[in-house]
Subunit: 389 residues, 4 copies
Amino acid sequence: MSTNKKLKIGLVGGGPGSFIGAIHLNGALMDGLFELAAGAFSSNPEKSKKRGEELRLNPSRVYSSYDEMFEKELQLPEDERIDVVVIVTPNNVHFDPTAKAIRAGFHVVLDKPLTLNYQEAKELYHIVSNSDRKFLLTHTYSGYPMIKQAKQMIEEGKLGKIHKVYVEYPQGWLYKLLEKEDNKQAEWRTDPKRNGMAGCMGDIGTHAFHLAEYVSGQKVEKICADLYIKVEGRPIDDDGVVLMRFENGASGVLMASQTDTGLENNLKIRVFGDKGGIEWQQEDNNSLIVRYPGQPAQIFRAGTGYLGSLAQENTRTPAGHPEGYVEAFANLYRNFARCIYAERNGETPKEEWKDFPGIEDGIRGMAFIEHVLKSTETEYKWTSFVVEK
Amino acid sequence: MSTNKKLKIGLVGGGPGSFIGAIHLNGALMDGLFELAAGAFSSNPEKSKKRGEELRLNPSRVYSSYDEMFEKELQLPEDERIDVVVIVTPNNVHFDPTAKAIRAGFHVVLDKPLTLNYQEAKELYHIVSNSDRKFLLTHTYSGYPMIKQAKQMIEEGKLGKIHKVYVEYPQGWLYKLLEKEDNKQAEWRTDPKRNGMAGCMGDIGTHAFHLAEYVSGQKVEKICADLYIKVEGRPIDDDGVVLMRFENGASGVLMASQTDTGLENNLKIRVFGDKGGIEWQQEDNNSLIVRYPGQPAQIFRAGTGYLGSLAQENTRTPAGHPEGYVEAFANLYRNFARCIYAERNGETPKEEWKDFPGIEDGIRGMAFIEHVLKSTETEYKWTSFVVEK
Amino acid sequence: MSTNKKLKIGLVGGGPGSFIGAIHLNGALMDGLFELAAGAFSSNPEKSKKRGEELRLNPSRVYSSYDEMFEKELQLPEDERIDVVVIVTPNNVHFDPTAKAIRAGFHVVLDKPLTLNYQEAKELYHIVSNSDRKFLLTHTYSGYPMIKQAKQMIEEGKLGKIHKVYVEYPQGWLYKLLEKEDNKQAEWRTDPKRNGMAGCMGDIGTHAFHLAEYVSGQKVEKICADLYIKVEGRPIDDDGVVLMRFENGASGVLMASQTDTGLENNLKIRVFGDKGGIEWQQEDNNSLIVRYPGQPAQIFRAGTGYLGSLAQENTRTPAGHPEGYVEAFANLYRNFARCIYAERNGETPKEEWKDFPGIEDGIRGMAFIEHVLKSTETEYKWTSFVVEK
Amino acid sequence: MSTNKKLKIGLVGGGPGSFIGAIHLNGALMDGLFELAAGAFSSNPEKSKKRGEELRLNPSRVYSSYDEMFEKELQLPEDERIDVVVIVTPNNVHFDPTAKAIRAGFHVVLDKPLTLNYQEAKELYHIVSNSDRKFLLTHTYSGYPMIKQAKQMIEEGKLGKIHKVYVEYPQGWLYKLLEKEDNKQAEWRTDPKRNGMAGCMGDIGTHAFHLAEYVSGQKVEKICADLYIKVEGRPIDDDGVVLMRFENGASGVLMASQTDTGLENNLKIRVFGDKGGIEWQQEDNNSLIVRYPGQPAQIFRAGTGYLGSLAQENTRTPAGHPEGYVEAFANLYRNFARCIYAERNGETPKEEWKDFPGIEDGIRGMAFIEHVLKSTETEYKWTSFVVEK
């Protein structure tokens, strides 16, 4: 196994019509650290083959199932076989390929949320934790450089003691019963069997929850959730709000919706401490607004020299040349690769490189879903948030 | 009483150091419909006199108390005496001067919230309701033209059935114990005896609540409140969030804070229906963003010809010449004056002129405070919202 | 003449359909320093009378001509007669009423530009300069607090040596031949006899020019102009650009248009020195962006405590409660009034109060028009800019 | 030569410290259509070797010069050798490697501007035009989807007859003599021998010029240029403005600066016709503002279904997930690759794929530099713009 070669990806999922599979590849390939070497793109062999062709893959490396892929790849010389399995299937096909890939000795990149349900999550937690394989869960938004800048400034105490976290992820695309109009994305994401029991909260609420904890550096201890089905006929939530209390006493509000008619994806986070506050939104992702009392607001910008090391390690263009969502993915992949390379070369990775979401984030996300559903059912205001592992 | 003369104002409060008194005057005077004729600016006669001089008032019309003002003014010829009492005192001095002014036959403009507590509110409700005197409660933000445009579009069904209301009013000025630093505004607004039992929620939460109901056209039926004291040593809330359910089943989130460190006054409201959504924020008050699925977002602008009658009647500059907060006040005052003139002249006021907040809004605001405090105390999630009159 | 009474305005122009007359009144009345006492609103006596009624004026003070107004008012006791003549007529009726008002001993507020042509301007310059009456020319945009902040920061050297000024005033309302569609504003503003020989450049280019010199503190020495008639059939320019060189060697670009289809009034100015730069635009008039190399951009905000004295003296609301165009007018009027009061009371006005546009700005504006027209005619690039007085 | 394999890149330049080389690779690699196969990264063999290692290249494909690369690669089997030469050297090393690569039968991607001077450009024009090799000149900004949307809407007549083009590219990084502070980028870009005779105008003015013609669909016929050296001691322009007249009579203003202290790269373009106008700026590159008279402004957004085919073919994420500068590069590379594949497969490429800048854009850009320098020298206002080929 050459230490310097590109990391070879075996993709699970991402067949025709997949949105997130293509984005994963854009992000992985951009920096020249990965190459696509194999794939089991669909459980339909024809579709898998077709997608393999589109992706200019060697047909011998296009498989009909991930089981086949893992088996066949292991038979290849170490130098040729895949290094990393990237899993971009619906949530009901997260646990099995991840567990098998880890056990087969591959590193794994998995799209969030971790699993279909909390039970699977607890099991997968142990499998991944007890392995020495690297694991990346793509909570993409934590890959944005200005999110990392916010995290670092808060960690360094620039905002003082944190007392408030607002996070919102408002989408509008499910404002109608799109799942009945032959929209594949809408179909599986509103189907409890493939998606899990939390719709909006599972799909994007988990992202918001991750961001809240990641940026603030605080863990949630109690929640009060209020979920809604805004569109009649939909079996799972498409809108909701969660009040939060953090371990240090800070309060929080998390709002997520797929039925805020007309909205796109303007994820937004604001954190306030007793010394100052920050504000970031995806629509202006290269800016971070930092405010201190009695001073002009400051617009921190990606790509500038005054940023901290965490942001600096996660950009590639100079200030004013906007990076975006694909680069946020690329940042996660690049850090993941840097850690793999460091290990191979017996080097110590930089702290900044190790900053990507993993199994701990995954289990917390599934606990979030579990507790949000539980809180919605109860007539009591507060539900304790405890992560079982 | 000449029907065409400017309306004469007798001001209660607004002594040296008052912020809101001066703004009321700016708004009232701007359109040439009112003139300041008398004032009881402070309970300290020296201060009252001094303020009278600053305001270029005839010293004979500067009084030491509102009781004196009402008494002396009634002795003047009808043509000279004040028409309207404007009350801009702390909340503990709302009930008495309002009740007396109404009983003395004056029209009244009162700064919000209606009274110190719910008990007073219920009593004042009957006094005002049973009088033929006009009453304006200055929920200023409902005077912005683009807020009125939003209200009218929603009323006309442009957004379909409303299912979500977000409203937030984040301030940061009380991020520290400013009330101990000789700041008069901070002093009375954090003093339960002068302000009432709800701090942030009483001061700005009531504005947000009013806006939510005003714009959406829906009344709140249930709430779940979570109030905080973020700054140690403060006796009343300085931050909070309220989940809401409306009569038509819509959900809502109301966030208000005086401790979002570094923030100013960026009141923001978003309303979503099954056909579209609107977004407005005070920092860009001359714009209203309107979104429909599958179409570019539209920026409706104050002063343009395509706006509805409600917005049209509440602007004075052409598009692109920004109006602001003072004009929002002026809009309330102008509509109030137009209704008084119409009555004097035996004319029917336009519907658009009658659209200013009054006693019904006042009692609902006090009920909001009452229920928010109650909900904060209980361990149950939902508290029914019932207005007693 | 009481030193403490409101200043009495006699208005010239502002008849039915006038836009700017009403705005002048809004601005003048807002702060309680002026009252409308008389008017010659139209050369048509019926229209003048009607407008007087709308404005709730005493009919005996409504005149058929400004000549009549000056004559009759002078016959009133000093204590009752008007103090200030406000002139809001088309440009061809600027010289005569101003000259006569000054000579009659009234203070004058005149809407820009100074006169119909350069010849009149030079004459009026001497009349006003040699009088002790106060004169305000309403270059409104210089009344915005954040413009004043920019001016003061530059004056204090915060940006270093100034080397570049960009100013633009793009409107779109004359994108078609509106003057043929019974639009009074379009009619006179495109009629050389009432407006003067420069259309767009006279109407809004002069505002931009004034702002460029006011903010930068530099005077123009050379220009290169390129004017256009974009809409066929229009006799005067409706679009243009002017390159500028300033006395200190700085360069500048001034763009103005009435045919930038779809645009409103987003006047914008940017100034750069060797230490930093500023940016301001009317659409976000309460913010001033200040940039220094290697630092986050800073958003200075109106109403905050960290602003300089010039901005501080020109606001009335706390930060976050937006002021706008009417308040910019009000700032000019308030400063003008403060200077008149100071003189009456034998007091020294603050430097900040004396900062309003006057006759020097007026003659420079007319010289700008003159030189822009001259430069447009010549085939040479640069035309020297010399103000004859 | 397999028709389906990734296109193999041989990179010229992009050694240590290069900014643009890395960005080219990000853009080229992202979509999985290219792979880096060889490189002559530096004229210094050690540096070239080091960069090859960083890029995980096979050492046998790392060359000391492009001459060597072309020679050795041609000796490889067709299936292994590079397909495309990507040239990212300073401007004085554009002509020679491009000419040689084309003659050797490689396709070429070249960073702008085309050459060091106009003479070289005319020569290269013929070499490229007479070859059947494909040629991409990376005027990156024309790769942004919303720029393409603007172009298409204008082409379709949505704005009516175009009469005005504003384009500005303001940077601030050269506000001081950075070239004396060991900054490699500043060094060569201010050195006439490596950069050519136009500094700012050559570096970013050409981008703005390209965008103006690309979006408006109009060609420039006359210019009036005013260039400046703002920082003492610099041999070439670092700031300037160019007035333009287009073939259809439209006017234009182009502003470019490297000394607008504090600014980043906020390239901005506005185009107005007699029916409407558009506005786009790089800082908000996923939005295009479209305005029609008497209607709310519309915010067209990348990734939405209502966009035209040109924008649709140049995005990869759904609306609200921001793409940026790297994706703009990737769009140029992807279209270039699609055309190469189409040719190989004997297919007709879509019209949208053929929309990337090439040799015609290159010669016009060099003519722009030539004429801007000429216009700056003359005392006459207008200089005819004629492209010699």
